[in-house]
Amino acid sequence: MATPETAHERRRPEAPREESGRVTGTLGQGVQFVLGTALVEYGRRQQSRRGTAVALGGGALVVRALGGPAWLKRVFTERNGGVTERAATEPAARETAVSRSITIGASPDDLYERWRDPETFAEILGHFAEVTQLDGDRFRWTVHGPYGQDIGWETHVVETEPGHLVRWETPTDAVLPNEGTVRFQPAPGDRGTVVTLSVAFDPPGGTLGSAALEQFDIAPKTVAGVALDRFKSLVESGEVPTLDGNPSGRGAGDAV
């Protein structure tokens, strides 16, 4: 049986991933590496010109064991080098169509109702766009770009199946045509509901979408993932976790 997790994996489009940069060395590389590091340490402890030479030689072995300077250069260019930077240096995913899932501890019917509530809908998307209800099923979305420019569009809810699905889309002449669907499916046992959000910008046939996404720094994969997080937290815990007003030496109100 497909668990929600495996189903989620299957549906999720493959993001381009950089090799994570581990030392997958052969035995020879391993020996070189250990010998190299031992020489570095030995040389360092000598604190003499000869010691320095030994340490440098050891360093060269280490570099060789790691597959050469190009690889090392990349390591050194990663600021602070920790795991986050490795992840953060992966090229931002700009797939124009993404689908992500989350499991929320409520029934499909309740979640459908919450999603249809205009106030909740605006809050779910608050990290990405200002969303205001125009009338009934029409919404105005405004996204603030990184250089102070705004982009906006209107969406229309075009399909609903209470307890199952909501689908919306922009008119085809929108500046950034896009569409979205949220689906609700019961999760096994006491786990609630699997909520899957699919969004597509510039639906098939154009390249305008990905260019606009770059320009406005919109990463659909993140937009969808965070929207689901916000929806889940709002429904389960009554609030969206926030760093508003969070104090630091940089001032109040942090964000990464």
Partner: protein, 389 residues
């Protein structure tokens, strides 16, 4: 207000920062009366935890008085004296429902970042990097505490701050480590690391019925504390071979349970330890798994390895073969502090344990920068620092 902030590797400073306020309706704001430096703060101090930013307020072992509550806070009121757990938990998600509070789904505003790195996001933690939530910590005059009905525990007796403060982290952390060690009658439990978490793991292993606890470290005053307060047999790993001694103590069986209360910054000796240091410096490895390697080698077949020590990323030369072939069970995780607050406060109130025995330094917040250095260098017999904002 004044706060201790992270500025980079081995650089923490007192800075003037904005005073926090209630933002969400379940928030409380606490005026901090006592706040400790944790061993895991040293991982931040070493610049080893990713996604820290200059100016981040440190600290996740605070207590104080409630000065403001949000409109939906029901159990706390202005003036209440509380200890604040380091984990922020919503109390409503599947994980909180299953008492897995440190895995709460709803308290990390940067969950997407944690997911990129780890696959999933654990709960938000105070003062412990942006990947873990980005929340300002408690080494400050005031702090904002989200989900105030779920975390902070009210102290209504006249116990001193030093007696209850460690409910925030290290006492529950040591206790959960011992609980995870699956201790039976006649069992020998080996604890690597005699810092504060190790000390509480030793005490809790004893409380949970271990036949004997063996404590491993290299700092004389920490080993002495383990002997005096924890009734442990001690091994100084710089003086003797840990494997040989443990086999000698257990008739060759090995300790039934091994607890790694050291984590990512293990020192160790020999070529492999040196190789770890170099690789870490070159950013080729995040963690130095010296203790994990030794514990897996020493652990009894079919035994349990419990890991309260904090690791931050990836480790090389991890002995997966021995772990698999010896059928060792691994238990780990950030502490589900909320699970232990009530029961452990009872233990303190009934006089079964007085956690203040670990305190060696009790000073004003202003001395924080200097005491980070003292604690890091293990100078002045420093084991646990309490700061007063």
């Amino acid at each position: 207000m004044r706060a201790l902030t992270w500025q980079g590797r081995q650089d923490v400073r007192i800075e003037e920062v904005p005073r926090p306020e209630v933002v969400n309706p379940t928030d409380a704001v606490i005026e901090v009366t006592a706040t400790a430096i944790c061993g895991s703060d040293l991982h931040l101090y070493h610049g080893r935890v990713p996604s820290m930013r200059e100016g981040d307020v440190l600290g996740h072992e605070p207590m104080g008085r409630v000065v403001e509550v949000g409109s939906e806070v029901e159990t706390l009121a202005e003036g209440d004296r509380v200890v604040v757990p380091f984990t922020i938990s919503c109390g409503a998600c599947w994980f909180c429902d299953h008492d897995l509070y440190s895995l709460c789904d709803n308290t990390n505003p940067n969950a997407e970042l944690a997911r990129e790195v780890m696959g999933h996001s654990p709960a938000g933690i105070f003062g412990y990097s942006h990947m873990m939530g980005g929340y300002a910590g408690g080494q400050a005059e005031y702090m904002r505490v989200p989900h105030a009905d779920v975390g902070p525990i009210k102290i209504e007796s006249d116990l001193t701050d030093e007696q209850v403060l460690f409910l925030s982290d290290i006492f529950p952390t040591g206790h959960m480590a011992a609980e995870n060690a699956d201790i039976d009658e006649y069992d020998t439990v080996a604890v690597w690391g005699c810092g504060p978490v190790g000390q509480f793991a030793i005490q809790s292993a004893d409380l949970l019925g271990a036949d004997r606890v063996v404590a491993i470290d290299r700092v004389p005053e920490r080993l002495a504390m383990a002997r005096e307060h924890g009734d442990a047999v001690t091994i100084d790993y710089e003086d003797e071979d840990v494997y040989d001694r443990l086999m000698g103590l257990t008739g060759g069986r090995g300790p039934d349970s091994c607890i790694d209360a050291v984590g990512t910054d293990a020192h160790g000796t020999g070529v492999v330890a040196t190789s770890d240091r170099v690789k870490q410096r070159l950013k080729l490895e995040d963690d130095r798994p010296t203790v994990l390697r030794e514990a897996i080698r020493c652990c009894r077949k079919g035994g349990t390895l419990s890991v309260p020590g904090v690791y931050v990323g990836r480790a090389d030369n991890f002995p997966m073969g021995p772990l698999m072939n010896k059928a060792i069970t691994v238990e780990t995780g950030q502490t589900h502090v909320q699970r232990y607050l009530g029961p452990l406060l009872d233990q303190i109130e009934s006089g079964n344990i007085d956690p203040s025995f670990v305190v060696t330094h009790d000073e004003p917040l202003e001395k924080g920068p200097e005491l980070y250095e003292t604690f890091n260098d293990k100078e002045d017999d420093c084991i646990k620092v309490v700061l007063r904002p």
